[in-house]
């Protein structure tokens, strides 16, 4: 089911438009795809960029704009858009040549102070590990779906996931349960 308004989801819940991963040429409704998958992609890029709102907005808008420009020449629009958006974000981050911001940019639905620790931890991962963790563990895609969205094999995704999670677990040690 397409989601158009603000939502708060648990891990793996409410994935929009899974079928779009395999949608065929000629049935692109990119606006509908944007409404359903755009927020998810935007969140992933926001996390991928360490909380840079402008990078997320530019990458997502540009990827969809280029998809419209290409028209029916794209066989798998969502995968094409994801790959393009992540590549654009990567390029923008490389251009910045600097460390992640001390505080994430404020955006609706995310408390910068609250998200600061996880974004800083994600920033220590390699770009592919970071993308794999965000799409799989945050956005709830399966490994084969992440593989399609990032243009790599499922086995490679699992390797990136394993290494990324291991690193995050080491960085973010378990909290003491206040209830014992």
């Amino acid at each position: 089911m397409a989601t158009t308004g603000p939502t708060v989801r648990g891990v793996g819940e409410g994935l929009p438009e899974r079928g779009a991963l395999r949608s065929a040429a000629g049935e692109h409704d990119l606006e509908a795809l944007f409404r359903s998958a755009g927020p998810q992609l935007w969140r992933a890029i926001y996390g991928y960029s360490g909380g840079r709102r402008q990078v997320a907005e530019d990458a997502v808008a540009e990827a969809f704009a280029r998809a419209i420009e290409h028209g029916d020449g794209i066989r798998e629009p969502l995968a094409w858009i994801y790959v393009t958006a992540f590549r654009l974000a990567t390029r923008e981050l490389q251009r910045e040549r600097r460390r992640p911001p001390a505080m994430p940019d404020p955006v609706p639905g995310i408390d910068p102070a609250d998200a600061q620790e996880i974004l800083a931890a994600l920033a220590t991962l390699s770009p592919k590990q970071r993308a794999a963790v965000l799409l799989h563990d945050q956005e709830g895609f399966t490994s084969p779906e992440v593989a399609t969205l990032l243009g790599m094999s499922a086995a490679t995704v699992r390797v990136h996931l394993f290494r990324g999670r291991k690193h995050l677990r080491a960085l973010l040690s378990p909290e003491e349960d206040p209830d014992g």
């Binding site: 704009a65 393009t84 931890a121």
Partner: protein, 328 residues
């Protein structure tokens, strides 16, 4: 198992993009095109190798007749005819793209050929006289980079380029910048310096010119100059050196030349002591000190500002002062 990192990730779940993002999509692509992906490059490389092997003789002939190709990878949009744009190459080097009135193009280095005691100096573009002017000592160069007046040993370096797209009237619309070519050296010491960027002379309306606030603006107050994004400037030389970024980067610091000519870029100078300092190469500290002390007795030379520098092997090379050219 309830991993903490998974709980932390849920803090990103509520994030929503701006409501007008679809409108931005409908505005069309705005960013520069992406280069080929790694996989595409590998595939293209293999295909190109095979094709090249099969047609080596033909290609050899073609290359011999067409001359050398630019080796750079910077894809740059060309400004409208008659205008000059300030751009940074991929390695951070500042250059100007000049679209001459006759429709031809020049890519002119942003650094002056005049390097007093080894200190790099930045040029600005004066639209009213169609000249490049070195902001520190007012060496003047024409729109092709050739020296015209002031203290400079010769012309400014230019860059080879290849036109990659043309506009509707056949003018270059985008270029790829290649190798640097040497500036023209000439022994002529030149006449006295003319006025720096005076009014009039080209018929260019003031409204068409780009104003730079602060720093070096000539008599008109309107020049085209490079500006750095202050958010991308390193706060201290030591931090920048530790990160060892490639190419040209901005660094805040105080250039300190000790009385013995030893040159450092310091985070700050307290009681003549350099804190957070990094050794600077390429500056003639003795020459600089002797020149400064001709006018006033000082125990050392201090210049706090933002510097455009290169970092190699843990030291700073080729600092160029960019004070007053910071973007807002």
């Amino acid at each position: 198992m309830d991993d903490r990192y998974r709980r932390e990730l849920t803090k990103l779940h509520g994030g929503e993009p701006p409501a007008d993002l679809w409108e931005r999509v409908l505005d069309g692509p705005r960013l520069a095109p992406l280069g080929p992906s790694v996989r595409s490059r590998v595939t293209a490389g293999v295909v190109a190798f095979v094709v090249f092997g099969l047609a080596a003789t033909f290609l050899w002939q073609a290359f011999r007749s067409s001359g050398e190709q630019p080796a750079g990878s910077d894809q740059i949009a060309v400004p409208p005819r008659g205008e000059t744009a300030e751009v940074f190459l991929d390695d951070g080097r500042p250059v100007f793209v000049v679209h001459h009135l006759d429709g031809t193009i020049s890519v002119v280095d942003g650094f002056s050929s005049h390097r007093a005691w080894g200190v790099e100096e930045l040029n600005v573009w004066c639209p009213s006289t169609r000249q490049f002017v070195e902001v520190a000592h007012e060496a003047h160069f024409d729109e092709y980079g050739d020296r015209q007046a002031g203290p400079a040993p010769g012309g400014v370096a230019t860059f080879a380029f290849e036109v990659t797209a043309e506009d509707a009237v056949g003018d270059p619309a985008s270029i790829v910048v290649g190798e640097m070519q040497d500036g023209t050296l000439d022994p002529h010491s030149g006449p006295e310096r003319p006025p720096f960027c005076p009014s009039g002379g080209s018929g260019v309306d003031d409204a068409d010119l780009i104003a730079v606030t602060g720093g070096y603006t000539g008599e008109t107050g309107m020049v085209v100059a490079h500006s750095l994004d202050g958010r991308q400037v390193w706060d201290s030389p030591a931090e920048a050196v530790a990160a060892a970024p490639s190419g040209w980067v901005g660094v805040r610091g105080t250039l300190l030349v000790a009385s013995d000519g030893f040159v450092q870029l310091c985070a700050r100078v307290v009681d003549d002591e350099c804190e957070g300092g990094v050794v600077v190469r390429g500056i003639d500290g003795i020459g600089l000190m002797l020149n400064v002390t001709r006018f006033a007795w000082v125990s050392g030379y201090e210049e706090p500002q933002v510097w455009l520098v290169q970092i190699h092997d843990g030291v700073i090379d080729n600092p160029a002062g960019v004070s007053g050219l910071l973007g807002s």
